[in-house]
């Protein structure tokens, strides 16, 4: 198993370097002059050159790449032309917000998707199954930005039940950072009003974001449950008079959850990079918004930083799934060693 883990880790490192090369190449071949944009629309040629020199953009690409790789090795992701902060500190500011949003959304998706999948499987081809099918098809088909806007209009504007957007109410001061996760920090500092306000602000974006994941989890879980419930050992359990609740909850769900868990892992990694629209609609100050704002300013260092971070997340999710498969199915390990 250790050899297997080492091989996967080596591959992960290689993939990360590949991602780094591709991101750097793409960032530097797209049209646009970041120095000119950063210097401002009225800047003279000498002002543009000042910015270019300050950020090392006047150096040959090979030198820039070498500096970038060397920087990354020492934990320096460069500096943003737009925010004038280091990319590392920007990521530290924005990533926790995205992490909280995605984690919350995934908790809702799993919390609802798994039971609904079980219900649909147990009540296969009844109205319950049909209803969950409608939910799952809608979850995949409805674009996140549209759903977000509709929820915003209905629940926030028309009914006034929830805030329109943002992370906290205007007069609500965020807690002093401990973990940089707002809700966690508010809990740790005992700021209950802040916790409540943060939840109220998070509800709509989380629901919007969770919908596609909920749909997938529900469908996969349903399919796996149906398959599992057909197995001989389940028939045997039924024959022994074990209650349906016990069969489903104790024997079937455990086996049906394996593929669902793998999908949750992959989906989680994917969601971390797919929050742009939801963050835009709800003014959620996360990494997606940061990436978009950087992209429209041709601010390459943050784009590369975000790509690397999200790539790393995704790879880690894949890595963990690989490990899980390897642990569950020894044949995978042997195939990897061959």
């Amino acid at each position: 198993m250790l050899g297997y883990v080492a091989r996967r880790l080596a591959l992960l490192g290689l993939m990360l370097f590949g991602l780094l090369c591709i991101t750097f190449a793409i960032s530097h071949v797209v049209p646009g002059d970041p120095a000119r944009l950063a210097a401002g629309p009225d800047a003279t040629a000498s002002m543009v050159e000042t910015v270019r020199a300050e950020y090392g953009l006047d150096q040959p690409l090979s030198v820039q790449f070498w500096r970038y790789v060397r920087g990354i090795a020492s934990g320096d992701l460069g500096r943003s032309l737009r925010t004038r902060e280091t990319v590392g500190s920007d990521l530290l500011r924005y990533f926790p917000n995205t992490f909280e949003l995605v984690t919350g959304a995934m908790l809702i998706a799993v919390g609802l998707g798994v039971p609904l999948g079980i219900l649909a499987a147990v009540h296969r081809d009844t109205w319950v199954d049909h209803l969950t099918r409608v939910v799952s098809v809608s979850g995949v088909a409805i674009p996140a930005f549209w759903l977000g806007l509709m929820l915003q209009l209905l629940l926030a504007l028309d009914w006034g039940l929830l805030p329109l957007g943002g992370r906290l109410g205007l007069m609500q001061a965020p807690p002093a950072p401990i973990t940089r996760l707002l809700v966690v920090d508010a809990l740790l500092r005992g700021q209950w009003a802040t916790v409540a306000d943060a939840f109220a602000h998070a509800l709509l974006p989380m629901v919007t974001l969770c919908f596609p994941a909920l749909a997938s989890i529900m469908r996969v879980n349903r399919a796996e449950m149906i398959e599992t419930l057909r197995q001989d050992y389940i028939v045997n359990a039924r024959a022994q008079g074990i209650s349906d609740v016990r069969i489903v909850g104790r024997y079937a769900l455990k086996n049906a959850m394996v593929p669902t868990l793998a999908m949750i892992g992959l989906r989680y990694g994917w969601m971390l990079g797919g929050t742009v629209l939801v963050e835009t609609v709800f003014d959620w100050p996360g990494i997606g918004l940061y990436a978009v704002s950087s992209a429209v300013s041709s601010d390459f260092q943050p784009i590369m930083g975000v790509t690397l971070l999200l790539g790393l997340n995704f790879m880690l999710a894949n890595f963990l799934v690989d490990l899980a498969y390897g642990w569950l199915d020894p044949r995978t390990r042997e195939a990897g060693a061959a």
Binding site: P31, Q152, P163, L164, M171
Partner: protein
């Protein structure tokens, strides 16, 4: 507190948070806080480093300058300088400072602070430096005494005063005390202020909101007893969400709504929409160095074929057509006789004199991706130029790519939709957009070339007396119009939507789109 009590407290607060709609404006103690929902971030407030509308709105609130633009038409009024004089050749300018101005930390605003601020901006060579750097060097700034400062320009520069409202005065002592590695305080001033303006920073949550607090004993005093006690600038990136925030009472002022949204909210009770002609010109720049648009007659044909009324219709009537390359509020603006209006017969007549007498060419129209009005104008162009047997290919690009395309004559598109806001009311600010030195900038994407006009521009900016400058600018406007480097479009009205308890709004067209002077604003609750 027991776990169950804690849980109950959270649930109770959550219920309240869910159920209670936001009040019309926020309160902090006895202070009335105005909420401004804007789409653009304020990445830095360093006055020497950068400006755009949101940055400048913050800078204007935190800092003071020697003089200030006020009103419509914009007037330059004394601010930190109570008076000034210049030599007849406009080379030496002397400013006398008020004695009672104080920085937020209590230090007096002195001539040395003014010197430091100008020298810092020139040294960093960023932000507003371009406005004066050709004429003012660091050693040309002299402190005559604590409250008198003199600027000795390297050559006469008549528009000098018109740029000073954007050169904010910083407290040098504070800045240098916060210097890191010889950066002249750049890192610190990105999110901190060292100014003497009517507001100081209370909260700075980058990318989320920025809260300013009114300075109670502001040295200049306040224009109203109901002046705002503070301002929260909240970033709301979606126009729909901005509109919703206004209607729900979560925002007092919003900018940047669509034309239709502004019209709709203007009809709603409790909301007012100030509506004023601005100085931002919209033009379709044509590449004068390459392709069919290199031919002046071809460009004129395009200008005569264009349906100008469509421009105003697209903005539901909230725009006026340009009557000159210069915006109406620019000093010395003249309505150019015979400025282009749609005349198909004339269009065909001048096209016949061009290298493409029968049309038969395709022009590329580049516009900002996602900007609906520019897309609609592209459709108008397609329809209009079809009548000259010219086809139009619409190419939406994101702004950085547009800037890149327009930076070289070889890559600049045949036609490029461009909004331009001059930074001062002096005609030089607009005329210089047509100078060779503006090639490569987005507003220079037509690569206009006319040696005579360039010489006139150079002469006009160094001529001290307005009586002599005015006819030069009249001539410049006529000549540029005659060369047709662009379709001279329209001046879109500036609009904001605000709750009717917001009073004291003062419009000045020289401010950027979206920018509001927060100082005179008041909240008068019913």
């Amino acid at each position: 507190m027991s776990a169950s009590l804690r849980l109950a407290a959270v649930v109770a607060t959550l219920t309240l948070a869910l159920a209670a709609p936001a009040p019309a404006f926020e309160r902090s103690g006895d202070r009335k806080i105005l909420v401004f929902a804007g789409r653009q971030e304020v990445p830095t407030i360093d006055p020497s480093v950068k400006y755009d509308w949101s940055i400048r709105m913050a800078q204007q609130s935190l800092y003071d300058a020697l003089v200030k633009y006020i009103g419509n038409p914009p007037q330059i009024v004394p601010w930190l300088a109570e008076r000034w004089e210049s030599t007849p050749d406009a080379k030496t300018w002397t400013f006398h400072l008020v004695k009672n101005a104080r920085f937020h930390n209590g230090d007096p605003v002195t001539a040395e602070a003014v010197r430091f601020s100008f020298a810092r901006t020139l040294k960093l060579n960023q932000g507003p430096a371009w406005m004066l750097s050709d004429f003012l060097k660091e050693d040309g700034i002299k402190v005559l005494d604590d409250s008198t400062i003199q600027f000795n320009l390297s050559q006469p520069y008549a528009p000098f005063l018109s740029f000073l409202p954007w050169w904010y005065v910083m407290n040098g002592k504070q800045v240098l005390a916060s210097e890191q590695g010889g950066d002249l305080g750049q890192k610190w001033l990105t999110t901190n202020a060292a100014g003497s303006g009517p507001f100081k920073i209370k909260r700075w949550e980058q990318g989320v909101l920025y809260e300013l607090e009114a300075v109670d004993n502001y040295w200049k005093g306040w224009p109203s007893k109901d002046h705002v006690g503070g301002v929260i600038y909240k970033i709301v990136r979606e126009a729909g969400a901005q509109r919703a925030a206004l209607l729900r009472g979560e925002a007092d002022v919003v900018e940047g709504l669509s034309t239709d949204d502004f019209d709709q909210v203007a009809k709603m009770p409790g909301i007012v929409v100030p509506n004023f002609p601005g100085m931002t010109t919209f033009g379709i720049k044509m590449n004068t160095q390459k392709g069919p648009t290199k031919d002046p007659n071809f460009r004129k044909a395009v200008c005569y074929a264009f349906d100008y009324d469509a421009l105003v219709k697209i903005y539901n009537g909230h725009a006026v057509l340009e009557t000159s390359p210069f915006p109406n509020a620019t000093r010395g603006h003249v309505a150019v006789p015979g400025i282009y209006r749609q005349d198909l017969a004339k269009a065909k007549e001048v096209l016949a004199k061009s290298a493409s007498p029968n049309g038969g060419v395709e022009l590329e129209y580049v516009y900002v991706q996602g900007l609906e009005e520019e897309r609609k104008l592209g459709l108008v162009l397609i329809d209009n130029l079809q009548k000259l047997n010219i086809t139009v290919k619409m190419v939406p690009l994101i702004w950085p790519n547009m800037v890149a395309r327009g930076s070289k004559p070889d890559t600049s598109p045949d036609m490029m939709a461009v909004f331009t806001t001059p930074v001062s009311t002096d005609p030089d600010a607009v005329a210089y957009q047509y100078h060779k030195n503006s090639w490569g900038k987005y507003y220079g994407s037509s690569f206009y070339a006319n040696d005579d006009v360039w010489a006139l521009i150079d002469r006009a900016r160094t001529t001290p007396r307005w009586e002599e400058r005015a006819p030069l600018y009249a001539e410049i406007q006529k000549r540029i119009a005659a060369d047709a480097p662009e379709i001279f479009g329209m001046l879109m009205n500036r609009r904001w939507a605000m709750r009717d308890h917001v009073k004291g709004f003062q419009f000045s067209p020289v401010r950027f789109t979206g920018e509001v002077d927060l100082y005179p604003l008041a909240i008068v609750a019913k």
